[in-house]
Symmetry: C2
Subunit: 340 residues, 2 copies
């Protein structure tokens, strides 16, 4: 006689078409019933079209049927909303107020850092009109889905993501939309994407303090905000607007990352402060949060971003940011989280 535990384990190995994560990780297994040698498996049909359902039905039958030399298996699909399937530990919003300071860079690096530590991570690209995430992570697939939801796409290292640029015909197409449509798109990314089980969902916000950040802070259970700044005084004035918004919306600030802090020129072994002296500590103080890192202007990093290879980046500055991030998130020991 097979046990529920054995059945559940056998489902671990079945990857959901499109996302390449297992049925259990995607939280699609809704029920396992054992009855006189018969096994009934109920799966959520969320975002699965008919072909995907047929494929999964046969894979589940094979896996469970193989357990004890021919258990009869019945697979039933039920409609479940994406929001009921999703189990997301923490939602972290990356914001700045100012454009071009490296929000998408910091959002991606945050996701990469958490993924490398063994957590299950997703990125929700809330910059609908200027999305950078897919390009940085080298993802170009179109998300698959059905009338019950959308599947995220998966990066090389296994980070789930959704971005409006994945939905456009051409990545250079403009989304000429007013606020209500922008907000609706973000809400759909939250409510209709089947994220499954995630330890962290990183949200990349567009510049400004208007519709997109407002919708994210009002609709998503944001547990913390990472603020991104650069050394320029001009930038800092605008970044402080973002700090002020996070405060008004009662969202705790986890920390500050200063980007483009300096440029190291190896020929003269010198750090040049291109945009003035670092103001990271000042900004951290203004935000009442730790300085998580100061990232240099790094031509190598710019190249990796352009190539879609940000997941390959490593540097002392990034290692230090990763360590500080772990502290700020008060994370359990990496590897003990049940993440993979």
């Amino acid at each position: 006689m097979v046990t529920e535990e054995q059945v559940r384990e056998s489902l671990q190995g079945i990857l959901v078409p499109g996302v390449k994560r297992s049925l259990t990780d995607m939280n699609l297994v809704r029920d396992i019933a054992l009855d006189e040698g018969k096994v009934g498996v109920t799966l959520a049909s969320s975002a699965l079209n008919e072909g995907a359902q047929d494929w999964l039905r046969s894979k589940v039958k094979d896996a469970v049927g193989g357990l004890n030399g021919g258990t009869t298996t019945e697979v039933t699909f039920i409609d479940v909303k994406a929001t009921e399937v999703n189990e997301i530990g923490s939602v972290i919003a990356v914001m700045s107020g100012k454009g071009g300071v490296g929000k998408s860079l910091v959002a991606s690096l945050t996701a990469v850092a958490l993924k490398r530590q063994g957590y299950r991570v997703g990125i929700l690209d809330a910059d609908i009109t200027g999305p950078s995430i897919p390009k940085m992570l080298g993802v170009r697939e179109r998300p698959v889905g059905s009338n019950t939801g959308i599947m995220p796409v998966i990066s090389r290292s296994g980070i789930e993501m959704i971005s409006f640029n994945l939905i456009l015909e051409q990545e250079e197409d403009a989304v000429i939309w007013r606020g209500p449509l922008i907000s609706k798109a973000i809400t759909q990314f939250w409510e209709e994407v089947v994220w499954g089980k995630l330890d962290y969902l990183v949200v990349d916000l567009p510049p400004g303090t208007a519709d997109a950040p407002l919708t994210v802070m009002q609709t998503l259970p944001v547990s913390g905000v990472i603020i991104v700044s650069t050394p320029q005084d001009l930038t800092n004035m605008i970044v402080k607007k973002a700090v002020s918004m996070a405060r008004k919306m009662d969202k705790p600030i986890l920390g500050v990352v200063e980007n483009m802090s300096f440029l190291y020129v190896p020929e003269i072994d010198k750090k040049i402060e291109l945009f003035g002296r670092s103001r990271g500590d000042e900004m951290a103080q203004a935000a009442g949060a730790p300085l998580l890192g100061t990232l240099p202007i790094d031509p190598e990093l710019a190249r990796l971003c352009d190539e879609g290879n940000i997941e390959r980046y490593s540097s002392d500055a990034f290692a230090s940011m990763t360590a500080n991030l772990a502290g700020a998130l008060k994370m359990p020991d990496a590897g003990n989280s049940g993440g993979r």
Copy 2:
């Protein structure tokens, strides 16, 4: 007997309180009537509070009365909408789609270049949630006004400007608004600000292709768009969205400015392409418009921006951009424009 011409000339010297531009430049003189030794001057009261009206009344009486040894002068104020007072030659929108590429920098430099050539120039800062213009030009005054309009503020070199940051209590206050309010603010900057006579109004757009640029392109008579990019491939993808928007809205693209093209390190006499090789020509081709300039990353320029002294900037790159801009705008010979 005084002539209308003499009266008009005498009004040239009277500066409107708050803007430090003359009554005639602000286009507030609506009528001059001569009748048997009496002179009647009708002024628009737009944006002038009672104190300002009284002050102007007495200044006009002094100036006209002094013309011919005691002409009796009557000054009448009439309510005229700002839109009727304003005579604006060309509206140039500076856009990019991407944040932080230097839109405000290019908008300011465009205004400075035109001003130095003798044109009457204003800047409308349409970035309501992240306005940079006042800081770059070192302006902190609050705009004055009345219930019939708002006066712009004036930079050291005489550039008119309006920005939401001039209206905030604290420059770091966040404007947490959804699109309709953002659009309303921009529309007010166009309809209720008394710009007077301008040769060029430069509009600094926020990132994205949502409410703000849409409102500017639908509400203002934009005669041309300047596109700002940087060498990064990632940036270019998003900048092309702005190009696509300008096309869809039937707005001609005047040219492309590539910012942060390179860094010159004097110690090694070398140009470093920090964000990859220049793609200015490529972007210009994609936009179907000339490349107006490639600006380097210049720590001196960053400093001037932080200090509010961008009007003092000069460099070879800026000189070349100025010359190309003149060509793109097909400007009449500088100095012959009647501008001051």
